[in-house]
């Protein structure tokens, strides 16, 4: 006799995710991940100017707010063979890096921390001891007893006010919360601290892209020109501001994020043994050293790890027909050539088919998991279900011998007294996110210095107008734009005909991770991870499900595909 536990909405994520888990006793034996919202962006993109695509795709997600913009301009640039100036690539690297740091910190404190930190417990903490704890793990200056007492007073006033707001109905007091009150108070303080910090960190994207969320990009380079003599361009003052922001990021990562992660992890070492799932990992690689998008120069290497085998890295070809494919066996879509086959994204289709493919009419209690149960597709690499994201990247870095990563991983494992296999877990995933943040935060220096070096040398170009006009394009072109997004490997595939988008497909990190089962019944990464050694202390308060799911940092709006106007499902309602 199995019991079905439904968690919907999964909160503190981007988008609309539903998890249905089958319990045998207190153990999860089957899990189903469902994206429950669809918009149809790929369909909307058809027929439009490829140069505009970034703005549309960027609105796939406002959290990892730049990744789809970058992937889209890269897809167009790949299709056209469009080279961009070295400065533009460096600025994009800085923006990507800043996005990583910003996104990972926010994920940790604002989306993930409440799975590990009991806010209410913080009220019982002694600010002096909290101060001592904070000072023992970091040099961060905001660590006085008075500081923590202030935070506690504010929290107390808030809780006593009776309106708990966003903290209402948390699983406070759940036995799975194991932090002492002082650590909880420190984490609450840093929750608030990180909210303030992220506002500053976000400014880097604003300087280069005009706003955050949703900064601006342009095919062929970046929008912001460099001119030290101009008030209106990237000048010395602006560049100094960038330096200050990078310093602020690095300080916070070194003195708050990294120490907090290790400190909290120390109380949850049992989570190093559960939540692994697939054991297959995929990276497209990213962050080139030069002007060209050359995988040989990437900070994050490209490759696939299968079955935990770090000794063998498989290469990835984004253009090959038989490598990356998407399946819809359990998705609410139709493929014109049959619903059991996989399609390479160049040939991808997204025909909405909710009712016919097993969608249950709302309001519903339970999905029909035997049929379609998600708006997500199931991407596969050479037929394999793989995990993407920070853990995949850190494993790639580790496996390919990246020195800093090896040092970070080894010292963290040593500090926690855990074997290297501990990486393949919920805890490993969360720790990997922190470690790669440190790698990227430090790498910002190199890109910044290279940019300054170019400017000093009088190399100012930020945009290449050679292929700007669609009249200069071939009649037909196709390209793949890829990047490592904070949540993992992201690819956009574009087919251009007569200067217009003929087909557009995005295969995003959360589709890899959160996708439903494929035609062979092989689960996606979420599903596999939940099925891996997860026991629920209290089925009414499935905190454990949240921990593992949040360790992936879900971004569901990203993951959901779009519809095709050729199907009968398409509805055009316009109210004016």
């Amino acid at each position: 006799m199995t019991e079905r536990v439904v968690v919907d909405p999964i909160t503190r994520i981007e988008g609309h995710l539903r998890i249905e888990a089958e319990l045998s006793g207190d153990t999860i034996i089957g899990a189903y991940s469902s994206g429950t919202m669809v918009r149809g962006i790929e369909t909307i993109l058809r027929g439009r100017d490829p140069r505009d695509a970034w703005a549309f795709t960027q609105r796939i997600c406002g959290v990892c707010t730049l990744v789809h913009g970058i992937a889209a301009v890269r897809a167009v640039e790949d299709a056209l063979g469009y080279e961009i100036p070295a400065n533009a690539q460096l600025i994009r690297n800085l923006m990507i890096g800043a996005q990583f740091v910003h996104d990972h910190v926010m994920h940790f404190y604002h989306l993930h921390a409440l799975d590990w930190v009991d806010i209410v417990s913080a009220l019982q903490a002694d600010p002096k001891q909290t101060s001592a704890l904070a000072q023992s793990i970091s040099d961060y200056p905001k660590s006085s007893p008075g500081y923590f007492a202030d935070v506690q007073r504010r929290l107390k006033g808030f809780v006593e006010g009776g309106q708990l707001g966003i903290f209402a109905n948390g699983y406070w007091g759940h036995p799975a919360y194991r932090l002492p009150a002082e650590a909880n108070l420190m984490a609450v303080a840093h929750y608030l601290e990180a909210l303030a910090w992220q506002r500053d960190a976000a400014r880097l994207l604003t300087i280069f892209g005009g706003k955050n969320p949703h900064p601006n990009f342009v095919v062929g380079g970046v929008t912001s020109p460099i001119d030290l003599d101009s008030d209106s361009a990237l000048n010395a003052k602006r560049l100094a501001q960038v330096r200050t922001i990078i310093d602020g990021m690095q300080t916070f990562v070194d003195q708050v994020y990294l120490p907090d992660t290790l400190a909290i992890a120390g109380f949850y070492k049992d989570w190093a043994e559960r939540g692994e799932g697939l054991g297959n990992f995929l990276c497209y690689g990213d962050l080139p050293a030069g002007a060209a998008l050359d995988p040989a120069t990437f900070l994050f290497p490209r490759g696939v790890i299968l079955d935990r085998d770090l000794s063998r890295l498989h290469d990835v070809d984004l253009h090959a027909d038989d490598e990356i494919q998407e399946f819809i066996a359990h998705s609410w879509y139709d493929y014109s050539a049959g619903n059991d086959q996989g399609l390479h994204p160049y040939d991808g289709e997204t025909n909405l088919s909710y009712d016919a493919r097993g969608g249950v009419a709302p309001p519903y209690r339970q999905l029909d998991v035997a049929q379609g149960y998600s708006w997500l597709k199931s991407p596969r690499w050479k037929g394999r279900s793989v995990e993407v994201g920070p853990l995949a990247r850190v494993l790639m870095l580790y496996a390919s011998g990246h020195e800093q990563t090896r040092g970070l991983v080894d010292s963290a494992l040593a500090r926690l007294d855990l074997p290297v296999e501990a990486l393949f877990s919920t805890l490993g995933r969360t720790a990997a996110r922190t470690l790669e943040t440190k790698v990227i935060a430090d790498a910002l220096d190199g890109w910044y210095d290279a940019l300054i070096g170019n400017v000093r040398a009088g190399e100012l170009a930020t945009f290449n107008d050679r292929l700007w006009e669609p009249a200069t394009w071939p009649r037909e072109a196709r390209g793949a734009g890829f990047m490592e997004a904070p949540r993992g490997a992201l690819g956009h595939w574009i087919v251009i005909e007569d200067g217009r988008i003929a087909n557009y497909q995005a295969v995003v990190p959360s589709t890899w991770n959160a996708g439903p089962r494929d035609p062979d019944g092989v689960p996606g990464a979420y599903e596999a991870a939940l099925q891996d050694n997860t026991q629920l202390v209290d089925a009414q308060q499935p905190l454990e499900i949240l921990r593992t799911i949040h360790s992936f940092d879900p971004c569901i709006a990203c993951a959901v595909h779009l519809s095709d106007p050729h199907t009968g499902e398409s509805i055009d309602i316009r109210v004016t």
Partner: protein, 142 residues
């Protein structure tokens, strides 16, 4: 323009040119406010955050207004810095939050800025506060 005591014209940014247009409008507003103040004694507040400044415009405006003799710092929900410009009666009030992020930047045309005035309700309680402190001092015994 606004009077004789502004900074040395040689160091002033050149008037004219598109970058300067927004600042010129502000200076005009300040001039009206000053006249109004002289005529009626009513003060005026101008919120500089709502102006469409070009990059560098604000700096130029502040440089143009210059520094007078008075500066003050108020600690209330983060620092507020107050200084008189080189034009008497024209004050700059820079409200910042605890992270030293600017909340507003105002020009206040007045004898002195409102934020420096002790709140009347606080003064009402002043004697009580002083008594309490005296009492504390007596208890503790210096």
């Amino acid at each position: 323009m606004t009077g004789g005591s502004v900074s040395d014209p040689a160091t002033m940014p050149a008037a004219g040119g598109p970058d300067w247009d927004a600042a010129k409008a502000i200076l005009n507003e300040v001039r009206h406010a000053l006249r109004h103040f002289v005529a009626t004694g009513e003060s005026t507040l101008i919120d500089l955050r709502a102006q469409p400044f070009a990059p560098g415009d604000l700096e130029r405006l502040l440089a143009w207004l210059g520094r007078g003799e008075v500066e003050a710092r108020v600690e209330a929900l983060g620092p507020t810095r107050v200084w008189e410009s080189a034009v008497p009666g024209v004050w700059l009030v820079d409200h910042r939050d605890g992270d030293d992020q600017r909340l507003t930047l105002q020009i206040e045309v007045a004898e002195f800025p409102e934020i420096l005035r002790s709140p009347a309700q606080d003064i009402e309680q002043a004697v009580a506060i002083l008594d309490a402190r005296l009492g504390a001092a007596a208890d503790g015994g210096p």
